[in-house]
Subunit: 487 residues, 4 copies
């Protein structure tokens, strides 16, 4: 068992790079179709919608607007409120809008890759916003290149829009072209496609990525998460179903169920980490799912302790659930600095010793002299976890019992999670006991897969948990084919 | 009693301007004195120190550095990580540094008013960083102007540095000059003064604003709050005492107790709202004080309910305390969007209806069909509170019982709290029952003054609660003399 | 004849918008191929090359670099030194580079339209930089769209790169594909195409736009004008010939003469206005050509006067020539403010009276009491000319004789000149005498077409003067088909 | 005599830093007093006024506006059109305005030093804009510091405003206080002082720096140069006299001649280099003075040659004069890139060879095979001159005869010219023949002092030529006391 002294010497500077220690590769999409041409500020609604989806991507954002004749757009690197101001929004007049927020792990994240992608084609202008990842994008790209197609970005989205356009030649409708595209591609996608006069919402056949639809008194709204419907005061209508193409045109919604998958596979990490707690996905409340995970964790890995705390923000709900289940009081033990942003300067080597408590700090009064249970949603590399355990011990915690509200991460994800950090998955290399030793906690317990899959109470769908099991719903490359941060 | 229907029509657009609905006028100061000339990156430490004090001021920030010969500085409008990058910090070489973060309510917040203020004087260069407010600044300014002094800012800090310099002519030491300055001014101040080769920490005679001192292996650190000591891994030594001048020079700390006030008056709102929960001020934990307030609130204003929730972030601790005291389960009922910043576009009139849930949203699963107790730290204008009650009711809460962990705000503050929003203090115009009606809650209870003053457990000092009582520790102007957002 | 009094009341505010009063739609291209892999900073050379071509386009600029494997690029809106700094250039490492500066008249000039355009295709990555205009771009675009191609910009350049890629399928080499593309398109182009490992310079069959090639001790350089070769100390090798494809590969230059046009048609306005005076195009010195134009103007439109002055900068050379021919002394009579830029605020209506001499001012001592000949290169709308005549008269000129070193502009240009300002061509609506009256000069003389075509002394080519004659070298649309500012 | 070969190897990279090779430390001031309260956009006029004075300072600029009650201001680093946009100007409402453009040589040029300086004092708010340099500023600063005054900038201007304020205590009027200030300070100044309701223009007793006054139909205007009067269509009234205080108040001008110097000493370099050619200072035309210098240079240093050219822009007028006097034809031989700005990247060591012709290039056709006379206004370090000679020889000039339209610079200037570059004055170290050898020209001739002083034809004043003679009009420090780039 590790000694406090040793534990307090954090030899790994990487532990400050929290971005590396949260798996993440997500995007958010949002669309508005006004049924009342004159009165709706569709760009403004999209601004607020994207703002509520900002947690799904902080690298770049964009909004495209159609006035039923022309599509204009604005996109750039940065947060939604950094990219759009009143002047820019004023120039985005129209009756439909589609927006996108994008996450990327690559340092060389590029403005060219910002979405929505807007193109001119035989079908007129098309704007496409995509959340997800296309597994066979490279292959499709190659095939199209062989036929003379050029690509200007590394986005999978550009592959999708080319496929739709090519199939358009032999299709009666754009929906037919989209359906053909869906048969070509393997992967995850929640996508919104806008032509000059209609809007389509499309979800992949397995429903790996979420997508839902709502309405206000004079608009239809499509969004990655229901919290974005709330943000614009839209009423939730329903989730778009796996394999479904929803069309909004002439103020009406129609639907094509292109695939009739019984065996749906919503990404379980939407509940564990990605989605906002106030969202409801496929019938299940994200917050309740996390709370439930805490309760199950308490049953699976009980411990005698004085206080239960959570790692803000994603560990809080589970901690409350754990407390509820065990009767051990819930408390606030860790403070997170709210002002971290992209421009924050990582501590240099020389700052290593002094800068441990910059991003997180312990509340001494809560943990001093106590046996502490601390809950986080997942462990990726283990370095942040190790740092937090260290902070708690330094603040006087007598014991620190780590509980993780999901099973060990062991396999690459091909449907949206950052591949690059994958190489460093601690659970791929170490046993649970070895991880406990590495993070210097007094005990460590992971929620079982079985337990996790029961947490989305009332959910109407099945789940993809391939990153935990290696059991992929669709064919994936034999080895780690390089994925672009497509979307 | 208000009807749900009416309640859901929020006729007041101002409710989105949350800044107006939180009283706030604070600043943060931070200083480092390296006892080991070559090896400490004092600007880097100050960067992290200010970063942990960012909650005390988001308008402007600055760092001044002395290499024992010359003081250089950089300051600008914006957040700490926006103003400082690696290149700027590299140009701030020295063995001492003083930093400042500043809050301002005025639209015309000006770059000229950023701190530290750095001047050349008969004592050489002086840098001064100030948290607090000088009540008789206008009078002192006038007197000095009559003697030919000019002022280039509207900061009280410029008054202070002029006083120190003038008194310097008849003083043996800078400490003597500072002591004379302290006799001239009425007001609150936690200030750090740096000359080319020494650093002073000075706290006003009543100790209205906090200031503490710590050390690392090779530096002394002065900061507004202890969380900033933690951020740079400094050990807490002690709070600077009310009326005390601490000097760090030649690697040693000396102290002058210029005033020997028994009747100290730490601002009670440091515990209610201003300070970070992981800080400890004058012996009392901020988080524990808030938790305690929740418990006392439960005793003073009990209610039969199904769930207790808090308004993030400052109402959370009290909600946990309320739950502990009553046994009513604690839950997460409100989500706050973490990406609000200075550039966020306020919803226009036309967006009024749709944009209610942009900054806060309810978690339906938590509150639907339930009798909800919701706790906030204070009510200023009441519009945000009203909006949050509305959101909860719309999410299906059967009853909403508002509990406030401090007494009604009724009087102007002359020591640091924003005066301009004061005019709109709802408690100055309405009774508790009238406020309840206005915010549409089913009941409303404020913590008593007596109760509040007991919440800073283990505190070694008395408190200023003049904004609640009108009982000012020092003479204040008869009427609302215009205060600059001095500091 | 106009009266001085009336003349001094400038009722046309537009006269301040000098941009509208210079016809202009040009771009500049620049490429470097290092024959010495390790030692040449190709991005740095391109920076200086583009900087010397900045007069050809101030809206956007870009540089793409190949390290023989991958092409990376950076492009943005603004001037070359605004877009590129040391950090950006450092990230552009490679052994070949291609750069572009772009002019656009449209208010909605867009970042997406910046060049070089960089795509991925079956031939790998391709970067293309284009100066010129494709007359049948819309038609070609439509045809390709019908076959499923999408377009992401409104640049003609994207049409070109798609054509090259499509033809690539049936071609042995990229040169063959380029040659096929040349047979498809009608229009003007000086273009540089870079694949991962070779660089092509291509000039349209009529040689409407210039393109030349040079070498340094360890590089080959391609540029729109020879002044850019000088800027990087490259030795001029030769102009690329009309219809020629030059390939630089494996450190060697090879050439394909795809078209063998005897009847070349270099744009005469390269000599009149576009090119820098220190450039030599197809054997003729730009400065000498302008000087010669002044001499010929003096012969064609002599006048008895005391002094000859030029409108800076493009009227200066001709004024010196006019002086030389006539013996009338040359002097400086007009000063131009050198600090005009994109962000300059145009005088508002209320400023009309006071703001006449902001951009140009007269030197009173030079013109007072004198009979002044003033030379400009061309008159587009006439408003700037009118303003300058007015300034001279106000400064005391006894007579003002306007001489223009090119014939009246009467016809639209389809090969690169801004179409939008064309509608306002004063010579299209008024006779020479009417223009004289409108600009309030005492006489007015235009250089004859015959005269103009003789000014490029030693030129080895024929000229396109369609904007003066309506005689287009290639088929153009029947009416003013909308041209994108392609390039 | 130098060999061409050697000459073409420029071993001194500094030659690219043209800023270092032009002596320069100037500023420009501009003020407007509206006699018609409602209708004049004083900030807009000042914008255009400063824009026409931009050549006097490109580092920072500012505008302060008084609405007769309050003075507000905006200032920042950068060019006038970069700092001010429509929104900023709209916020600067008032009936009087004073503006400033500032030059600085120090790398650490600081925003704090931007002008006008605006202070609060017993006289209310005062804005001060200053062009010039105070020789005894350090001493005065020290004296005031001893009396408890603090300084927040390193500007001399802050010394001036403090002096005025101190003297204000014992003065009846602000004019009296200004007069007392004038008796305290030694140095050069053209300054504009604005209180809430009046505006003063003040020129130093020797008239070293220029200042003039004009009027429009509803405003009075004060400016450093008459070209700024022209820019706002103001009629020139007269130069403010050396030692004169002009007051504009209650729509009237009054004047106090505080000093009655017969022996005025206008800086001769205003004519040689600083001022714009269209300005008239103390009766003499700047352009004519330079033209005259060329004629005199031709008489003093005749040479048998084929063409006369000038270094743009400041050598052009003299070149035309030289040509006129000798009959040798004038031509354009050097092109200057117009897009150089603060952000231009200086060529690195590795670029030395290639980057010779970036900023200037020769026009081969003009100089090839010819004996060339080239005229520049002055030689500071000689490196730029050397580079230009080299460029001409490389372009084929048979002989290059350098003529300089002012005498050798040998002494420090204490009244406004950059001291730092002074150390490198080539004429301080080398004889004329040695300089000729260093710059590789075939001959070299400087205009004599006697000749130079006769060039400002019709001037009504005497001149300071101390930088050429060492004969200072007022007492200066024994050695190179450090001067701030005061103003």
């Amino acid at each position: 068992m590790c000694e406090l002294g040793e534990c307090l010497q954090c030899e790994n500077l990487d532990c400050f790079d929290d971005r590396m220690d949260k798996m993440h590769e997500e995007c958010g999409v949002f669309g508005v179709y006004s049924t009342d041409n004159s009165d709706v500020d569709v760009a403004g609604l999209t601004y607020y919608g994207l703002y509520s989806l900002q947690h799904r991507g902080q690298e770049s954002a964009g909004i495209a607007v159609s006035d039923k004749e022309t599509i204009v757009f604005h996109k750039d690197m940065g947060l939604v409120p950094e990219i759009f101001d009143k002047v820019v929004l004023t120039h985005l007049q129209g009756t439909m809008a589609v927006g996108h927020v994008r996450y990327s792990t690559t340092g060389a994240s590029r403005r060219e890759n910002a979405q929505p992608i807007v193109v001119r084609s035989r079908n007129g202008q098309i704007a496409l916003a995509h959340n997800g990842n296309i597994v066979n994008a490279s292959l499709l790209r190659e095939q199209m290149e062989d036929n003379g197609t050029i690509f200007q970005t590394t986005n999978d989205t550009e592959v999708l829009v080319n496929l739709v356009t090519k199939h358009g030649i032999t299709s009666e409708t754009i929906e037919e072209a989209v359906e053909k595209m869906m048969r070509d591609v393997n992967g995850s996608y929640g996508l919104i496609l806008m032509t000059a006069n209609k809007m389509l919402g499309v979800r992949d056949p397995y429903g790996i990525r979420p997508l839902c639809i709502g309405k206000t008194s004079n608009s239809y709204v499509i969004a990655s998460e229901s919290c974005a419907l709330d943000a614009v005061n839209a009423e939730f209508i329903r989730d778009i179903e796996p394999g479904e193409i929803v069309t909004i045109e002439n103020n009406e919604i129609t639907s094509i169920r292109a695939f009739n998958n019984k065996d749906t596979k919503l990404c379980i990490f939407e509940f564990v980490y990605f989605a906002r707690p106030d969202s409801v996905i496929d019938g299940a409340s994200v917050q309740q799912s996390r709370y439930e995970a805490g309760k199950r964790l308490a049953i699976e890995h009980p411990v005698d302790a004085d206080i239960v705390i959570g790692v803000p923000d994603s560990g809080i709900s589970a901690a409350i659930g754990f407390s509820k289940q065990t009767g051990i009081p819930y408390g606030e033990g860790i403070v997170k600095n709210r002002y971290v942003g992209r421009t924050f300067i990582q501590p240099s080597q020389g700052m290593r010793e002094v800068a441990v408590r910059i991003k997180h700090n312990a509340i001494k009064k809560t943990v001093e002299g106590k046996r502490v249970v601390i809950i986080d949603d997942s462990i990726v590399r283990g370095t942040t976890t190790r740092r937090i355990v260290k902070i708690l011990k330094k603040a006087g915690a007598k014991e620190v019992h780590m509980r993780v509200s999901s099973p060990p991460l062991k396999f690459p994800c091909y449907f949206g999670i950052d591949i690059s950090s994958r190489k460093e998955l601690v659970a791929d290399k170490l046993s649970v006991e070895e991880i406990r030793e590495m993070i210097c906690s007094d005990s460590l317990g992971y929620l079982s897969l079985e337990g996790l899959l029961k947490t989305p109470v009332d959910s109407r769908c099945g789940f993809c948990a391939a990153c935990l099991t290696g059991d992929y719903p669709i064919e994936v490359p034999a080895e780690g084919d390089k994925f672009s941060c497509g979307t």
